[in-house]
Amino acid sequence: MNQQKPLTGRPERRRIKIGGALLAALSSGLMIIILLALQPIEALPADIRTGIGNLGQLLIQLVAVTAAIAVGVGLLNLVRSQARSLRRFPNNLYSLITLIVLVGIIGLRVFERLNAGSDANPTQTSLILMDTLQVTVESALAGILFFFLVYSGYRLLRRRFTLWSALFVLAAVIVLIGYSPLAGAEFLTTIREWMLTVPVSGGMRGLLIGVALGVVVVGARLFIGGDRTFRE
């Protein structure tokens, strides 16, 4: 009899917890929808509209605080996962570099804050490092992307030669050549313009409408408490 007590107790606690989560999620979702619907109504008294605005701001601040805490959680996760990767050292040299840079930048930032004193515009070495290193490296990676994309186009035709993949590559080639400033290639510019305004634009809208429909049905699932977070 005594052994059964914890077994019967656990599910009850879980039900209460899930019910609370569902209630909190549904009520805040409904609240935001109602606030968004009420805000543009000018016939409402000024006090009520101010109250709605303040409530909206409070919700936004709550989200901002949660996101800030989550960045801390993410940082801890990054340290843990990279430290775990170090077990395979020296195969995972990048993890070591990541951890050294992370600790170095945090240390540098703390040092800057401590030494800022009364100086209104202190030199921020961490920001200079960010500009000179991270932006440069990211720009270099973005530059390499062009070659990856061209190679992907070639590989697409080699591995999966279908009508659609051929059309995909042909369209990319026509659009690229259409930008050519060479004399006598004006007709390509016309073709490029037509392609961008008719089939490409139509395809883009079709894809975006599809994604929007997907967002609506996932939203519907959330609103009826059907998401896994609330069900299990």
Binding site: L78, S81, I144, L149, L207, V217, V218, R221
Partner: protein, 243 residues
Amino acid sequence: MLYAILLLAILITVIAGSRLKDAPLRRVAGIEALNAALNGTVEAGRTIHVSMGASAIGRDSAASALAVGEIAYQAMLKAALADEAPTVTVSDSLSLVLAQDRLYRALRARSAATRYRGTLARWYPQGSLSMVFAAGVGEAILTDDFAANVLAGRFGVELALIAENAVRYDRTLIAQSDLIEGQAVAFAVSESPLIGEELYVSSAYLDRQPLFLGNVAAMDTLRVILILLMLILGVLSGLGVVL
């Protein structure tokens, strides 16, 4: 208008969900490849990588984050009794919590919660179209030897950088993005890409729950309504009727 569409979607989801218990679903190449990858990696004793890119809870990409979270759940559910667990990578720190939650729930559903580790979901900094994220995930694909990679959610052109590391070494790649430029890259790099909204109904194919089937019905109904509306408006516009 938005409220009416949402209400309609809810109604159809609930009604269709209670009636469509054994409804057949049409074949979708990307989802079939996804299912094969989920099953194949477990049978081969290898591991799968699921990435939701910059999909972020609390932003306009929250729906894609939830949809990829469902794929991560199914991947972990299948791998729970095998040696290797899937890895989920995210760029948004709030989505990290979602990914960890889904992996933990899947293990708990298999009574294997003790196998859970926080580092099964990994965060790489940060934000939309992050090259740092692309470099970090690309490096993880190489060093962790994932047999299959599912890159779905919010990706821009940086998807090419991640995908290159998977494709170069003949690892299975299933890609999708809710951004146009990312979707174009996904089509070019993946043999079986998921296209647009297919991601959002993938849960119905992986786990035939009535609610998920209701979602498919809701999406198809809304799609038909939209097509009819566009056709009617097109005809009216052609006839010179100004609305």
